[in-house]
């Protein structure tokens, strides 16, 4: 048995294992979402708590106006929520934009914190910690500066959080606002639906496990205080905080009715930078929490650690190996000699991948169409391959940062001025 055979067996088992895991999660997610859509997502509460909506913003003047308009339109009781925008060492005219919004909405409780390069400019976690110090709410809601949440989103999230004391946080769904902007954003739209929403729903359905997506979520203030705020070393502060919540014995719920629309990178370079940051952040969290995978006291969180390990180690390596085997085969430098190894395995995997994504698209309005199914097929050979490059880049950068002891730097995602909005 040659090395190629060994790698082929590993790739087959890893890819098919993860494929079946995703299929199971999709079926669970499908059942959960369809069940949830029978109601409007609201829960009765005796009293609405005070909520602080925190928006970290660094050079976000292009999108801030739209975001603030959406935040001000929440159907949550107006006197029971405040908006804290951390204008984090911005060099654009964000301060001016925010000031104008404040002036135009005197009735709204808008607090703007302008930081300089000494206090601010150190990433999202740091900005959130600054906002937390000024927050008066017992529930904290987080929105990224490029988000336009639907008006009922906050109320649904808070109602659900208040309905169960064991809930540490409630997360909503996020959609791609600029999905028609480029081929890349179309891919991102499909990926978001399939691998963020459906996956979250599936994990919640089976294990009551969710990962905070960084935006459109509410969390209990007391828990944040007990944690000592956000970890400023974490680039993926959302994943990091999710793990900490589970370790504290709380769980996180996914509510598909609470929707926010966000702007995704339109250009490959920005996308690559953003995703590299995510990978580095998730690898940091994985590294910090991997010990819990074998700790029985860590409870259900162990599954999430194992899941992340599978995605970032098994999936990544198996895709690399399978591509290598394919190229080696094409060049005639070597062949797989295993019995039972045939192209049918790959063809069936492709079929299942497309069907798996299609099931996600089918539960969304205006997403299940021929174009998206065709794009799903294409993204397997393009977008998915780019994911491999992103992970490789993230790993290399992570190793380099450790070797050279580089400080964690927040690579800001560049925003685009949106002229038109279609399909929203």
């Amino acid at each position: 048995m040659s090395l190629i055979d060994v790698l082929a067996i590993y790739s087959i088992f890893a890819i098919w294992g993860l494929l079946f895991l995703n299929i199971v999660l999709s079926i669970g997610g499908y059942i959960y979402i369809m069940r949830m859509y029978r109601s409007d997502g609201h829960q009765p509460v005796s009293e609405y708590p005070m909520v602080t909506v925190m928006v970290p913003a660094h050079n976000e003047s292009i999108v801030l106006k739209k975001t603030m308009e959406a935040l001000l339109k929440f159907d949550y009781p107006k006197d029971l929520y405040e908006i804290i925008v951390v204008n984090d060492n911005s060099t654009d005219n964000s301060a001016q934009v925010l000031k104008t919004i404040q002036q135009k909405n005197p009735a709204a409780r808008i607090i703007v914190i302008n930081t300089d390069h000494i206090v601010g400019g150190k990433g999202k976690s740091n900005a959130l910690n600054i906002a937390l110090s000024m927050a008066s709410g017992s529930v904290i809601a987080i929105y990224d500066a490029d988000n336009t949440p639907e008006k009922q989103a906050l109320r649904i999230l808070v109602e659900n959080l208040m309905s169960d004391d064991k809930l540490g946080a409630v997360i909503g769904k996020f959609r791609t606002r600029n999905k028609y902007a480029s081929l890349l954003t179309r891919f991102v739209n499909i990926e978001t639906l399939a691998y963020q929403c459906m996956n979250q729903a599936g994990r919640y359905f089976f294990f009551k496990l969710c990962t905070i997506p960084g935006t459109n979520y509410v969390i209990r203030r007391e828990l944040i205080d007990r944690m000592g705020g956000w970890d400023v070393n974490a680039l993926a502060e959302d994943t990091e905080i999710s793990f900490r919540l589970y370790r504290m014995g709380y769980y996180i719920k996914f509510i598909p009715h609470a929707v926010t629309w966000e702007q995704e990178p339109q250009k490959l370079k920005q996308w690559f930078k953003q995703r590299t940051r995510w990978v580095k952040g998730n690898l940091y969290v994985l590294k910090s929490n991997f010990k819990y995978a074998f700790d029985p006291d860590a409870g259900i969180m162990r599954l999430d650690v194992i899941y992340y390990a599978m995605v970032y180690l098994m999936m990544f390596s198996s895709l690399i190996f399978s591509d290598m085997i394919f190229i080696i085969g094409i060049l005639g430098l070597g062949h797989v000699t295993l019995g039972g190894f045939s192209s049918l395995l790959w063809e069936m995997a492709i079929l299942l991948f497309v069907l798996n994504v299609s099931i996600t698209l089918s539960v969304e309005r205006n997403e299940f169409n021929f174009n998206n199914i065709l794009l799903t097929f294409v993204m397997l050979f393009t977008y998915a391959k780019m994911w491999v490059l992103v992970v490789a880049n993230g790993i290399i950068q992570g190793i380099r940062d450790v070797i050279y002891q580089k400080e964690v730097v927040w690579d800001k995602t560049e925003r685009f001025d949106e002229m038109t909005e279609k399909g929203k």
């Binding site: 048995m1 079926i27 499908y30 369809m34 045939s342 049918l344 069936m348 069907l355 089918s362 309005r365």
Partner: protein
């Protein structure tokens, strides 16, 4: 740049090109000349012959090699200098020829005694030659490109086919004629002689009827006595049997042949590892049964995937395979090789280890054949069995000028196999058993001779009687963890397909259900 400058450059370029061409031709000639032995037959073909022409020449050389002729071959400008060394000269499909070639050939003809013979295959050059030697009145030209060939191989059968040429030439007077070639209602011959000149108008070697008839006529032309050459037998060859194929199906075919005492040969594919696996033991048990009941086993050469081919590696593989088969009591007597193995030094070297060689109709695509100038493989004195030239759907041989094998695949259905075997049994060409001939081979660790019914391997006489295999109740496959995974993968493939099918159906159902629900709620929810 002025005109005279351009003219100068043009002249320099043309002169350079001509010099290069001349040197190349001289070098090629020198390379060929070094190896040219004085043989039985000289085949002269067109200078700058294309691949199709070379393939036809190689095919002709191959078929003559089976008849144990020593053949030299080369382009006209090179071979003309060696003309006098040969008694039999074939001018194959010549068209454009060097200026002095015709005079040289005419001198050869004029000097020729009873032992010199010239065979023209094709029409263009034959016409030119007759015109040049003032014999324009001795032929008739039929200006048509299609002719109907009728040829009888054994007196009773008459096989018909079409042949194509630019035009056809026929001798007016002949001393020998065979076959008929009807062109535009003119009834000519397929082959005819007049003095020392013999002519075959149709040259196309890719046409099986033409090829078979031509090779029979060449054999007759080369036969120095009255009557016909010796009759060679044909062999039923169960070809390219892989160890993983169904042994029961093979046993059924073996029983069909052995039941009526029909001699046959099984060509097994080589195997290099796991020779003691139960499936291999079972396969070899069938082979031993065949060996004991009139069947002989030969081994197919390892499939070449090396570019360039490494002779030592190939021999090592062959040795491994032989050892595995020998351990199971199976004794291959000969080697089966692709037909183009005759035209490469390394493969000739591999073949030299075996006395008996079968050639299959396949070609080794990795092998770069060489223009050798002579059939060097002839020197090794092999006993050749070539693939039969199939003239009907049974594939039986119509040629008795050399030994041939009628190939049967166990992939074919049983009725088809039975029909072919019946056709062989009733054929004019006798069937022969490999056990009636002597065989030998030597490899790194193996020396086998078969003579007078005794098979001696490494100095020990081998028992050829059939003994059933003993199978252990539980065989230990010695698989490591990864190999077990691989095996599981093989056995699970079918289940995987079913699982994927069911999952796909479930997904499609869920998609349809979600679409139905979405449509139903479309107007009621934002």
């Amino acid at each position: 740049m002025n005109c005279s400058m351009m003219c100068k450059r043009f002249v320099v370029c043309v002169t350079g090109f001509l010099l290069f061409a001349l040197i190349s031709m001289e070098m090629a000639g020198a390379a060929l000349a070094k190896e040219l032995p004085r043989g039985d037959i000289l085949i002269i073909y067109q200078d700058n012959a294309d691949d199709t022409a070379m393939e036809a020449v190689n095919n002709l050389v191959e078929l003559l090699t089976y008849q144990s002729f020593s053949v030299s071959y080369g382009p006209a400008s090179w071979s003309i200098q060696y003309l006098d060394q040969f008694s039999y000269v074939i001018c194959y499909d010549l068209d454009q020829i060097p200026a002095d070639y015709t005079d040289r050939l005419a001198q050869y003809e004029a000097r020729a005694g009873q032992s010199q013979h010239i065979l023209f295959i094709g029409n263009q050059y034959f016409k030119y030659y007759l015109d040049h030697t003032n014999r324009s009145d001795q032929y008739e030209l039929v200006n048509s490109s299609v002719g109907q060939l009728q040829y009888s191989f054994h007196g009773l059968d008459r096989i018909t086919g079409l042949v194509r040429e630019n035009y056809f030439i026929f001798f007016n007077q002949t001393t020998y004629q065979s076959g008929t070639l009807t062109v535009n209602s003119k009834r000519g011959y397929f082959c005819a002689s007049n003095g020392i000149l013999t002519h075959i108008p149709a040259h196309d070697m890719s046409n099986p009827l033409n090829r078979a008839a031509m090779i029979r006529e060449v054999s007759q032309w080369k036969w120095p006595y009255n009557g016909s050459p010796h009759v060679f037998a044909q062999y039923i060859l169960v070809d390219r049997v892989y160890p993983y194929e169904d042994p029961e199906k093979l046993l059924k075919v073996v029983k069909l042949l052995a039941g009526k005492k029909t001699p046959f040969v099984i060509s097994v594919m080589p195997i290099y590892i796991n020779g003691d696996y139960p499936s291999m033991t079972h396969f070899c048990e069938v082979l031993r049964y065949a060996q004991a009941n009139g069947g002989a086993v030969i081994i197919h050469a390892p499939i070449n995937q090396m570019n360039p081919l490494k002779k030592d590696v190939m021999l090592e593989y062959l040795t491994q395979a032989m050892i595995l088969y020998n351990k199971q009591g199976v004794f291959p007597l000969a080697l089966e090789v692709p037909e183009n193995w005759m035209f490469q030094k390394d493969t000739i070297g591999i073949m030299s280890h075996f006395k008996t060689i079968f050639t299959s109709g396949e070609t080794d695509s990795y092998l770069k054949t060489e223009v050798m100038g002579n059939n060097e493989v002839y020197r090794d004195g092999h006993q050749w069995v070539g693939a039969s030239i199939a003239l009907d759907d049974t594939g039986i041989s119509y040629l008795s000028v050399s030994s041939s094998a009628v190939s049967i695949s166990i992939q074919e259905n049983y009725e088809e196999i039975n029909r072919k075997i019946q056709a062989c049994r009733t054929s004019f060409i006798p069937l022969k058993s490999l056990w009636d001939m002597d065989h030998s081979y030597w490899l790194d660790k193996q020396l086998m001779t078969y003579k007078n019914g005794d098979l001696i391997l490494n100095g020990k006489k081998m028992d050829l009687s059939f003994t059933p295999s003993v199978y252990p109740d539980r065989y230990n496959y010695r698989r490591n963890m990864l190999q077990r995974f691989s095996r599981d993968l093989t056995s699970q493939s079918r289940r995987l397909v079913i699982a994927v099918g069911l999952t796909s159906i479930l997904f499609l159902f869920l998609i349809l259900w979600a679409r139905y629900r979405n449509r139903k709620n479309y107007f009621f929810q934002d």
